[in-house]
Amino acid sequence: MKRSAYAYPYLLWMALFIVVPLAIVLFYALTDTVDGRLIFTLENFSAAFDPAYVKVFLRSLWMAALATVICLAIGYPLALVLSSRHFKAGKLLLMLVVIPMWMNFLLRTYAWINLLSDNGIIMKALQFFGVENLSLLYNQTAVIVGLVYNFLPFMVLPIYTSLIKIEPNLYEAAGDLGANSFMSFLKVTLPLSVPGIVSGITMTFMPAITSFAVSRLMGGGLVTMYGELIENQFYFMRDWHFGATLSIVMMVLVLISAVLTRNNKNKEGGMLW
């Protein structure tokens, strides 16, 4: 028996549960049922680029991007502080930042629903100060808060990992060559942490744009994101052909971003400016 035969059970599994399902999605996307008959058509794809759906697409792109930028704006300085040599408690505090990541993300989202709900503690406090007629939940801001809360640790962790790997000697060298701390940040820290930033962005942006549970729970169906739109096609509209088409559009988007970030990683070696 050849040793590669060990992979045969997996190859069968792979064909059956990875390749065939994707082919079926493509099949559904390229067909439609008219009067109970199956016909091949590109109608679904042209419908997917209907302005109404493009709007949802752009909105989820925008919301995921915003959540990612906020995560980066909080996460980068935080990772910088935690990895600093002058900050002894860094490792322990990093663990504290990461712990919530290990809790079920639906429970984390639920925790925020609880805080922001009309009977929640924040509302009670606001009412105490005389603020009335305000709803904190079920709007775009709530969804963004939910996304940032869920994905912040995924931004901090890779950036921290890339920062902690930087040789301390490099800072001394930069100082000896006359760089002040701002210049050494710009010329040493930032370029060397680019891989961490890139994987932080992918680990935040991808799940943010494809998630439907966070936007459903915190947007209450009022702020639809693309993932939610797809889910709708399967569970409410019962239009599986169109749902499959939207899935393919999302898949293509994700593959494009994956290729883009991979190219970035390849260039990394020559990125010492």
Binding site: I18, M95, Y110, I113, R216, I230, M251
Partner: protein
């Protein structure tokens, strides 16, 4: 001084943002009343109701059993696959690896939908079995990619040397290769188990009447607030905290031993 104060301010602000929601849940899980923000007295009522909730307990059991079975099956299948891929010609290995990447790259929602369409197409009823098949499928790449690097790091001719010394292929694998790739296999197993426990989206699409814990939490959270979920969150949070502390203390001790 000012710089250090600013650093602490940032760290404390972020920790507050991360922990305030969880700690509020924990505190109010001991509230006797139904409403958050309205403390009516200490009580274990919600914990009692949680453990008496047949739906939640059933989905907890489903989550654990699916995670365990899926992790074991995908670890065995994935380890064998890695051994096979390692022995393949480069061209074939590349193709298989690239296809293996697909479930890791593609969004959970697409994986879930594609598997659901497959099961519907094949006329299989969506339930426990389909959920299990889906979990094995999304676990497999993680197992394969934790074992494969270990195999590639092995000295090239060790296996052949064992054969030359008279070992049967099976014996050589068990006694020479397996012990050395064990850390990778264990990583894959743990990875698969945690992924499986945490999964919501793929289970949501590939199972209909049988709910795992994530699916139950989702449908409860959609219906509104339930203090039982507070109690559940507190228990989960404590479990995670204890586990991580135990793991860290143990690895810290091992680190010390190694330096001695």
């Amino acid at each position: 001084m000012v710089k250090q104060a600013l650093r602490w301010a940032l760290v404390i602000a972020v920790l507050l943002f991360l922990y305030a929601p969880i700690l509020t849940l924990v505190v109010f899980s001991f509230n006797s009343g139904k409403y958050m923000g309205n403390w009516t007295g200490f009580s274990l009522r919600w914990y009692v109701e949680l453990f008496n909730d047949a739906v939640i307990m059933r989905s907890l059991w489903i989550t654990l059993s699916v995670a365990l079975i899926a992790a074991v099956v995908s670890t065995i299948l994935g380890t064998l696959a890695a051994a096979g891929i390692h022995a393949m010609k480069n061209r074939h290995a590349n193709l298989v690896e690239n296809i293996t990447y697909i479930p890791m790259l593609s969004p959970d929602i697409v994986t879930g939908i594609s598997l659901m369409l497959l099961f519907v197409f094949a006329g299989i009823k969506l339930g426990y079995g389909t959920m299990l098949l889906a979990h094995v499928t999304f676990n497999l790449p993680y197992v394969i990619f934790s074992v494969l690097p270990k195999l590639r790091a092995l000295p090239q001719h060790q296996y052949e040397a064992a054969i030359d010394l008279g070992a049967t292929p099976g014996f050589a694998l068990r006694k020479v290769v397996l012990p050395q790739i064990m850390p990778g296999i264990l990583t894959g197993l743990i990875f698969a188990f945690t992924l499986s426990i945490d999964d919501f989206v793929i289970s949501y699409f590939t199972s209909q009447d049988v709910s795992n814990l994530s699916m139950t939490i989702y449908s409860m959270a959609r219906r509104g607030l339930s203090p039982k979920l507070n109690a559940l969150s507190s228990i989960m949070f404590l479990t995670v905290l204890t586990l991580l502390i135990v793991i860290n203390v143990r690895s810290a001790r091992q680190g010390k031993k190694e330096t001695v």
